[in-house]
Every structure is written in C-alpha cells, then in structure tokens.
Symmetry: C2
Subunit: 340 residues, 2 copies
DNA sequence: TTGAAAGCGCTAACAA
DNA sequence: TTGTTAGCGCTTTCAA
C-alpha cells in the first residue's frame, strides 16, 4: 500500500506533474477540462500532497514552535488556546514544548524546534535566556516573546507585555473610593520580572490616589495559595493594620481570604482582598474574588497574529505590544469597618 | 546567508556527502582521521542536518500529534507534561491540537496532522469519532486512545483507560468503615463514557460492601462546581438523607462542600464528601478534600511510551492498558454524626 | 495551454 | 575504507 504521489495523479489524469501541481496551487491557468480530470484523479485516488516534500522545496514548514514554562498553569493554557485557534485558521500547526522552568531543557527544546525548521517561535517562558533569543536570531526565525522584560529583548524579537498598570491603578482607585487608606501588597518572588512589574505598578499607583508609597506594607509571597496564607499573620500584626490588600495573583488572594477567615476575620468588612488573573475559580469562591482580569485568550491570539504578520512581512521592525488589564469587582472588597 | 548543507561540510572536509552522512549517523565505519576532519568541518560551519530532508527520504518525521479536547482542563495539562517529557527524551516533537470538544475541528486538526506525516497519534479527546480512528488507520498511523470506550476502538488503536473501579471501591470501603450506610453519587453528564464508567463503578462497589445499589441516590451533575452546588438541595431533601456523597470529580465535590456549608451543615460530620481527580486545589481547601487520585502525569508518560513501542514494533497487536486509581484520605470525610 | 527537467538536502544501494 | 548515484515528492524555471 504505497503512498499516492503527485505522479500517480498525473499518470491517471494523463497530464504532467507540473500541471497537477498547478491545479492544486492555482498557480497558473489550466484548461477547464484538464483541470477537471486532475481534480477527479485526485479524488478517486485520495491524493494528499506531502507537506514534507513541499517544505523541502519551499524551505518553510507552516509550523511554529510554542515554548511554555508550565502547561499546567491555567494562565498559559488559555493562551495556548488562543494561539491554537489562530494557527489552525491559518493552516499552521504548533509544536508545543514545556520547559518546566528549566533553562537547559528550554534550550534543547528550542534547538529541536530550530532543526525542525519552524517558521516562527512563540516564547512564553519565564525561564528564557538571551542565548535562546540569539539562537533564534542566528537562524533568523521570527520570534514573539511574551511577558519577558530583560533589556535588549526588543532588539531581536517582538514583545508582548501585559499592562498591569492600568488594572492595578483601577484596583487602587476602587479601594480608595471605598474608603481604604492603608493598602498592603503581597508580591510574587521579586526575582521574577513580572512580579517586580506588579509591585512597581502598585507603588506608583498609590500617590496618584493620594497615598504614600513609603508607608505601604509589602509582604513577599510565592504566587501560590501558601504565600497568601503565610502573609496573614504579618498583615494582622502590622500597625496601623491595613484594611485592604492587593495580591500578586488570585491564588495568593485565595490564600489570604481563607487564612483571614480561619483567623476569625469578618470578610470583606474587616479585610478587602483583590487578586490578579481572574482564574476560573475566582468567581466561584465565597466571597467571590474582586480581581484584575488578564485577557489570556486574547494574548494568545495576539501573539500568534503578530507572529503571522512577522512571517508575511519579514522586514517589519521589532515592536512591542501591550495588552490592557481591567478590574472586575466582586464580593471580596467593601468599605472598611469602623475602628479596626 | 544560505543554509549550510551536508555538501558544504563534505567539501570543507574533502570527503563525499555519504561519508559525512555516515559519520553523523554512525551507520558505517569511518577512518578515525577522516571522521575527525568531518566533525571539525561540522563544528566550524555550524552545520545542523535538515530534519525535513531526512524525513523526505526516511518517510518518518519523529513527530507525534496530540489531540486534546481542552488544554485548559487541569487534568489534561499534566498529561501533556508526561507526554512531553517522554517525547523530548526520545527525540520526538509533539504537535498539539485543541479540539475544544468540537467534532469538525477535531477532524480538521487530525487531517492536518496526517498530512504532516506524524509518526503516531495520541488521541485524548472526548469528542472523537470512529471516522477519526479510521482516518488514522487508513494511513496506518499508530494510535493511542485515552479514556474513550466506544466499542470497537481497541480494534484499530491501543487504548489506555483509567481504572476507576479500584479507587471508587476504596472510597466506598472507607465510607462504610466510617459507619456510613446511605451514600449518594453526583455523576457527570451520563452521555459521557467516562461519567457512566464512574457511576457504574460506584453502583457495583456498593453491594461488595453490603449496600443496596437500588437504594442509592444518583444526582446528575456537570463535572463543574455548579453541578455540585445545585445538588445540595436535592441531597438534603432526600429521605432517608444520605450521610456521604461521592462526587464524579473534585470540582463537583468543591461545589458540594461550599453549598453544604452555606446551608449551615457542619462539615464533615453532617456530610462526608469524596471527589475524584485530586486536583491541586483539593489539598488546599478547608476541609481538605478526600479524593480519588488519578496518576495524570503517569498517564501521559504511559501513553507516549506505549506509542513509542508501537512505532518500534508495528506488528504489535492493539492492546488495552489500565492505570490504577487510589483513595487519598483527607479531612472531608468523617464518621456520620448521630441521628441525622 | 502544457511538459521536461533541475533541484530542495538528505540516505543508502552499489561500486570501487 | 570511501565515493557515485539514484531517488524521496514536490515546485518552478525554461521551453515548446
């Protein structure tokens, strides 16, 4: 049972291979009748052009590589969906690689992608190195980098960053309007670019709403539930005690909520909590979490579309895109109760 | 800046292309000195063999296609990780496709994978059809199907199914030992194979522990938090009222827990709840969820390894694998309080 | 309006 | 111990 090739079709239709090729790709005029014969031959034979052979001559594969630090992270999984949708709609297939936050693994993955002649690269991994970018550039593979801010990135790749400032500013505004004056922040690990970004956005938002950043309590967390839970004792011990807290992400916020309740606090009156991410769970818990929503699917879509544009117009200069975030008010924020 | 090819290396080393090929693939003896010269040429030129050209002649690609219904589902994301690990370790790359529970989309994805000459297929999508399997079989692409029980599957593909019976039997045993006699089940949508499987496992486990399946209350759910929440009123209205409930998955169990607490029940004394999945959250909530743990990563690993074996020994007859599940006891189960 | 033939970068007979 | 050569299945000049 041999694979049916273009020659089989040509023979069956009584034409040359080139004619078959041209009817398939609509790349030059073919007489109506012969075209019909070719089409028919294709159908009865069940012929499908070999992508490999095509790539061999065209030197491109209509594939892209997607490197992710952690597929299990709900943030990324929706991003993947956005990428996948755009890819499918444009005839691209995507190679997925999970770096597991492991630099060496990431590099191996990247090399295998380069060897596979991917047309473009989508890098969404906090464990990225400049060498990876260079490797991609060396083979001049168009690259889109998500949410990675190392200086110099924008020289060789298009970057997509998340504009936390907008959402965080809304969050602070919301709290101040409710009457809060003492707002704390439970940050992520500050060696992470994205964690610093959120903290800084918080710190710069404060003075815009009449609050003094110097007085703001910053408790380091780990972007996980545990980090939020561990922050509660510190939070309650602080004098003056904060009446609201902005968590670096929703998991941290949930940890805060649960530990606060366990400590006997009346929520949200005695402690308002805001998260970042808007994970699925955020609207399901009690009290439902007020949070800053990231357009995850949108990010994936934008990334793949940007890459596609890069592929079509290789001359385009590396640019930077930002996606906005916005506050979703639910039940975990309220006016502070008197005399706390 | 042309791509450097095997001819460049050959020329530089002063040998023929075939010699270069043979040192790269260690496929025939090459004199030590010439081998050194070749190696050196490869290094200085930075030569990397083209996977495409190789595939062209070998007719295989060292790629596999992975079709998933929903990358966002935490169950699948860990499976992906297992697949990815084994793939990377064996020099395979994986194409990821998200069917979004959409049959037509799934078929399009599948066809694109077939056209790309993937060596094997991993189908982990509840939205699968027999035609998809046939399409794969028609191109004789070895296929591994996860958790899909339609009769006839095992004829053309290796199946990996999850042995819910073991874990569910342990769960019922655990509850009976605690003193429960009236155990309810909140199922998934019963048009899903996997939901029926769990319900049936529950029903057959009961008599093994002296309980009458005919008396068991089965409430249909949706595998989501909402389904669990909606089940609580029915559960509380039933006479005699169940003292324990086995949920079809952890999300349902969380819904049950939260709605029960909202209804003023004292947990776990007044209602014991067991989930299925052991999602990350299960151990974080209060009370921590007793649940039946699925070895998700293990499943991915097994699937990819099975596929690899199939690729190496194509003669192997389609088989079926089962992976065991086991009960993890936490704080959401307890002896029933008296006189409920 | 169509065909012949070269070539994409490799592997593997077959020869030497 | 190594080289020559014929493909793998397509696309694309160039020619007719």
């Amino acid at each position: 049972m041999r694979r049916v090739t273009i020659s089989d079709v040509a023979e069956r239709a009584g034409v040359s291979k080139s004619t078959v090729s041209h009817v398939i790709n609509a790349t030059r005029f073919v007489n109506h009748d012969t075209r019909q014969r070719v089409l028919e031959a294709i159908n009865t034979l069940g012929y499908r052009p070999s992508t490999i052979a095509r790539s061999m001559v065209s030197q491109h594969t209509r594939t892209v590589g997607l490197l992710i630090s952690d597929v299990g992270n709900p943030f990324y999984s929706e991003v993947i969906l956005g990428v996948d949708d755009v890819a499918l709609a444009n005839g691209y297939s995507v190679f997925l690689g999970n770096t597991s936050y492991d630099l060496e693994r990431g590099m191996r993955l990247l090399i295998s992608l380069v060897d596979r002649l991917v047309d473009g690269l989508l890098l969404m991994s906090s464990s990225l190195t400049v060498e990876m970018l260079q490797e991609a550039a060396r083979h001049n593979i168009p690259t889109v980098v998500l949410d990675w801010g190392t200086p110099g990135v924008e020289l060789s790749a298009v970057t997509i960053t998340i504009d936390f400032e907008s959402g965080i500013d809304q969050a602070v505004h919301h709290l101040v309007e409710l009457g809060h004056r003492r707002i704390a922040h439970v940050s992520g690990p500050l060696d992470l670019w994205t964690a610093r970004l959120r903290r800084d956005a918080f710190l710069t938002a404060l003075p815009r709403h009449g609050l003094d950043p110097a007085e703001a309590l910053i408790i380091p967390g780990d972007l996980r539930i545990e980090g939020g839970q561990k922050a509660i004792p510190q939070l309650l011990a602080a004098r003056p005690r904060p009446t609201a807290v902005l968590a670096a992400n929703d998991l941290t916020a949930l940890g805060l909520l649960w530990a606060a309740r366990a400590a006997g606090l009346n929520l949200p009156q005695e402690l308002s909590v805001i998260g970042v991410d808007d994970i699925a769970l955020a609207s399901k818990v009690t009290p439902a979490l007020t949070t800053i929503s990231l357009p995850r699917y949108e990010i994936g879509r934008l990334a793949m579309e940007t890459l596609l544009k890069l592929l079509r117009e290789p001359a385009t200069a590396p640019a930077r895109h930002q996606v906005a975030t916005r506050l979703v008010v639910r039940a975990s924020t309220a006016a502070p109760s008197e005399g706390v």
